[in-house]
């Protein structure tokens, strides 16, 4: 057997991956590999080769490291890789999403009105808004999907489903008779209905993949129909149904799915059942989709008007005022309704964050993690937390065992019967917790232990504490010993009912869902910004405004979690990176803290608490550019 060369076990340091370190290593290697060559000139052909090699090594090393990152959910950066990584756990990345809303039509006349919302072979009935959500003039068209009604009791926003799978929206008749004052609701979807026809034989040639002439496709509103000839009015009987992925082409049935090519272009893949259909090759497949405009297609409440019906010869006169049109705002998603905010395709990073709300749940609610994921994926919930009796107990035990806290601090943090309702007192807590005393003994009360079983206690923030179509949240001051310690907040009651209704179709256990009052701690930021070079006072004002905006975004409820206190490092990081003018942010001292809790005692902060960023009035000058950096 040949003698193993000493270098075969690797002479290059394992950490040497970049050009400079590789080059350096190679130079030190030369005497070990040969005694015939001593390179002393950069122009030496050997040195040139060596540099080429180092550059190859650098490129390979960097690409390999990148590749390693692409296989894990937290670090995947490319959408095409994310599609595969998250596909493994059953999460499909979102593509363009058309804004949707529920539109209500009310009969304004004294007679019974008959309306047909049916599809006319080319178009749906439409309504139009002439202002977008910023108040700018823009024509936004919503298509009325026939045979869709308001949200049913067996539907759930929390299950990822395809709208089009069960409803025949191409029904050429959807007749509604509205009595005087009567109303009906249909789902409206923003965008333009477009279609693309392709011969079946060509689909086979293209390996069952159809490339569409547009990318602004809502992948949950796409339909495949077949016609014997393009001029035909009627469709062939075959009912092409959409699946989430091609992995669901199990049944030998007509199926299709939206897939993506290696460059993340959406395309339609047809099941190879197409091959088994007899006398089908002469037909055409027609793909219908809604070409949507994403987020700018959202509308405010009751702005849709000008109903244009697709079917001809109807008694309703357009613009006559016979029908009053109302719609829900879809700038905020609402549970238990069809309000959907328009969106652009999910990035890999967004997909990672969103997929955490779906992983391992399989759309069933059993464990605490499932409930937490459910609540956080629910429409209209910015962020939320669910705890049950055991979790509440664990939190209290954790606080009790924390050696860094004084007894007084602990007593403020414990979860109490005001946070979580009490249960039956049937347990011997001393032995159940392996303690040498009973913590809930009235004689020696330390912390609450007895929480209601079979209860999922939810704490959530809706619409950034603002009002929505479901009303305003319920908030009050929590006063202890005649001083306000924190704010208490609960989402609007209608919203809570909507969430619970959404939860019922997924319910795997008979657990009661209740919403509790979250502890809200308002805070503001104080400090001075130092600029790279002196700026005028107008620029200084603009910098301060940019910093405040960055803080508002960073600490907005949709970007934060419960139980997460703001840190000085975060504040400094956000401000320093928000504008190129900023050299550094002076975060004050212990006597002048950067994070100030406003009218509350932060010692009451616990896992069911939320730190809410607030802006002080401009006159407060809590964030300012240092006077020494301003020239006038």
């Amino acid at each position: 057997m040949a003698k193993q060369e000493s270098y075969s076990r690797g002479l290059v340091n394992y950490t040497s991956r970049d050009y400079d370190s590789l080059l350096q290593e190679f130079k030190t290697l030369i005497p070990k590999l040969t005694s015939l060559w001593y390179p002393d000139a950069e122009a030496d052909p050997g040195m040139v080769l060596l540099k080429l090699l180092a550059s190859t090594g650098d490129m390979l090393g960097v690409n390999l490291d990148w590749l390693a990152n692409e296989v894990f959910a937290p670090s995947v950066s490319q959408r095409k890789d994310a599609e595969k990584v998250f596909g493994l756990i059953g999460y499909t990345l979102g593509w363009y999403t058309a804004a949707r809303t529920e539109i209500t039509f009310t009969n304004n006349t004294d007679q019974v009105l008959t309306i047909d919302f049916g599809f006319n072979g080319n178009n749906f009935s439409t309504v139009t808004a002439y202002d977008d959500i910023t108040g700018q003039a823009r024509t936004i068209t919503y298509n009325i999907l026939p045979k869709t009604n308001s949200y049913g009791a067996s539907e759930s926003r929390s299950r990822r489903s395809i709208l089009t799978s069960d409803i025949d929206v191409f029904s050429n008749s959807d007749v509604v008779k509205l009595p005087r004052g009567g109303s009906c609701t249909r789902v409206g979807i923003e965008g333009e209905l477009r279609s693309f026809a392709i011969p079946v034989s060509k689909v086979k040639e293209q390996n069952y993949v159809i490339t569409l002439p547009s990318q602004h496709i809502d992948t949950t509103a796409i339909w495949v129909k077949a016609k014997a000839a393009l001029s035909d009015d009627d469709y062939v009987e075959t009912q092409w149904k959409q699946c989430q992925t091609t992995a669901e082409f199990i049944e030998p049935e007509p199926r299709f799915a939206v897939t993506y090519d290696n460059y993340s272009n959406a395309q339609v893949t047809i099941s190879n059942y197409l091959n088994q259909l007899e006398n089908y090759d002469g037909n055409y497949l027609i793909i219908y989709w809604i070409d949507c405009s994403g987020v700018i297609g959202c509308v405010n409440k009751d702005v849709l008007q000008n109903l244009v019906l697709a079917k001809p010869n109807q008694e309703l006169v357009s613009g006559s005022g016979q029908i009053q049109i109302g719609n829900l705002s879809n700038t905020v998603e609402l549970p238990n309704t069809y309000t959907v905010t328009g969106n652009s395709p999910e990035t890999a990073k967004e997909a990672y964050i969103n997929s955490r709300n779906y992983i391992n749940t399989w759309d069933s609610l059993v464990t605490l993690h499932d409930y937490n994921r459910f609540l956080n994926r629910e429409a209209g919930v910015d962020c939320g937390i669910v705890i049950d009796c055991q979790k509440a107990l664990e939190i209290n035990m954790e606080i009790y065992n924390n050696k860094n806290l004084t007894d007084s601090q602990k007593s403020k943090m414990y979860i109490t019967k005001y946070d979580f309702p009490e249960g039956r007192d049937i347990f011997d807590w001393q032995s159940a917790l392996d303690l040498d005393f009973d913590p809930s003994d009235p004689q020696r009360y330390v912390f609450a232990t007895n929480f209601k079983t079979y209860t999922a206690m939810c704490f959530a923030i809706h619409n950034d504490f603002k009002n929505s179509d479901f009303g305003s949240g319920i908030s009050s001051e929590a006063q202890i010993k005649k001083s306000t310690k924190f704010m208490r907040y609960k989402p609007p009651q209608l919203f809570i009912e909507g969430v619970i209704k959404d939860y019922e179709p997924l319910q795997a256990m008979s657990v009661e869902m209740r919403f509790g009052y979250a502890r809200i701690f308002n805070f503001y930021v104080t400090g001075e910004i130092y600029t790279v070079k002196p700026v005028s006072s107008q620029v200084a004002d603009a910098i301060v405004e940019t910093a405040k905006e960055a803080l508002r975004l960073y600490f907005s409820p949709a970007a934060r979690e419960f139980g997460q206190k703001p840190t000085i490092m975060e504040v400094v990081d956000v401000i320093q990176n928000c504008d190129d003018h900023i050299r550094y942010f002076d975060a004050g001292s212990i006597s002048n803290p950067v994070i100030n809790y406003y009218n509350c005692d932060s010692e009451y902060f616990n896992p069911i608490s939320f730190a809410r960023y607030i802006d002080l009035p401009e006159s407060a000058h809590n964030i300012r550019v240092a006077p020494s950096c301003i020239i006038d």
């Binding site: 590999l33 059993v366 464990t367």
Partner: protein, 386 residues
């Protein structure tokens, strides 16, 4: 594939310059080749580099638990999807609890060698060592571990059905009476046919397991009468055996048998390596010097042999009241003769001498030294003098 293996014209092979560059390419690309070949290990919980393990865990939906060594996290990941499959069920909670219990093993490995905190050596979990009972009407789940120490809970939350309390206990305790007490729920009740009570695995006496039950004595005064009345040829009902699971009061009063010895014995019965390891989170036996042989003079100058012996320091909790001295054999408190590891001066020392020994061979026995009454020494004596 190595660069130096690429076929090239012989003329190049003769060139030392060319050979040098080939070696160079090999050296440069070696690490890259290794990485490419092993990239798929990133998805293997046992091989994934420690610094990337949290990302693998996150990808699978498990929050990396840094209270415990990386090796334990690897074990959790191996069993994680099985747990999730059974989430909400008794099987799921049991599996999660068993994985929890395996941490004692892993932490012990880590004490042996630092690298074992990262590398997972043993992928098995202690099955049948956890008892899970769901008390649904009361709203709680009881988890009892076959261990004297409750493991850190890293898994149960992923499978526990929401809304129920989950109380976890270690089911093994050592009490001051030198008994191992096992929670009765850790035994298979169907096999034992006993009610759910505390089971005390005390020590067995020889009477309990190693002999036949006594019969009525044959009255020597009237053997003929006895033979004529065969009903008397029956078991002596006064001669009872003690049931193993009942407290053996007679022997409990006399804690002569070493607690560690007894524990070892009980564990041999259970014959389960995992239980043994999880039960003794600190080993009570370790490698030390064997007891000094006080029968050999001068014993103080001889270094005793290495031996697996009972470690007093590791079990201060329950050894406090226990005397390991064998009072029958220790004549002086200053020269204790422990009950463990019975002293055998020479091979064959403990063998009983047959009564009809007739050969002239000498037998080595211990005898008090007439010159110093404190010492004993070995002497050779013919059989007839013994």
């Amino acid at each position: 594939m190595r660069v130096s293996d690429i076929p090239i014209p012989e003329v190049y092979r003769e060139s030392s310059d060319f050979r040098f560059f080939l070696k160079w390419f090999d050296a440069a690309l070696d690490k890259v080749r290794f990485d490419t070949e092993n990239l798929v290990d990133l998805f293997d919980p046992q091989r994934c580099p420690e610094n990337l393990l949290w990302m693998l865990a996150e990808t699978m939906g498990y929050k990396y638990d840094d209270r415990l060594p990386a090796a334990f996290c690897r074990l959790v990941l191996l069993y994680f999807m099985s747990m999730i499959r059974y989430k909400g069920s008794k099987s799921g909670v049991t599996l999660a609890a068993e994985v929890n219990l395996a941490q004692h093993n892993i932490i012990d490995y880590g004490k042996e060698k630092e690298i074992l905190n990262n590398r997972l050596e043993d992928t098995s979990i202690p099955v049948n060592s956890v008892y899970v009972t769901a008390h649904t009407p009361e709203g709680y789940i009881d988890v009892v571990y076959f261990s004297d120490k409750k493991p850190i809970d890293a898994c149960i939350e992923y499978v526990r059905p929401l809304g129920m309390y989950c109380f976890q206990h270690s089911g093994v305790t050592f009490n001051v009476r030198n008994k191992i007490s096992l929670d009765a729920r850790l035994t298979n009740i169907n096999d034992a046919r006993i009610s759910e009570k505390m089971t005390r695995v005390g020590h067995y006496s020889r009477d309990d397991y190693a002999r036949m039950q006594k019969m009525y004595d044959v009255p020597q005064v009237a053997p003929d009468y006895y033979m004529q009345h065969p009903k008397k040829h029956a078991n002596d009902t006064d001669d009872v055996r003690h049931k193993a699971w009942e407290r053996n009061q007679k022997f409990e009063g006399e804690p002569t048998v070493n607690a560690g010895y007894r524990a070892m014995y009980s564990l041999q019965l259970s014959n389960n390596e995992h239980i043994t390891k999880s039960l003794f989170t600190e080993p009570i036996f370790d490698l030390g010097y064997e007891p000094q042989d006080v029968t050999v003079e001068p014993y103080s100058s001889l270094k005793p042999d290495w031996n697996l012996r009972y470690n007093l320091t590791n079990e201060p909790g329950f050894i406090y009241d226990v005397s390991t001295l064998d009072e029958d054999r220790s004549e002086y408190a200053t020269r204790p003769r422990p009950a463990v590891n019975p002293i055998m001066a020479q091979v064959g020392d403990a063998i009983a001498i047959p009564e009809d020994a007739t050969d002239n061979a000498n037998y080595r026995v211990t005898e008090t030294d007439p010159n110093s009454e404190n010492y004993k020494k070995l002497v050779d004596k013919p059989a007839e003098e013994i």
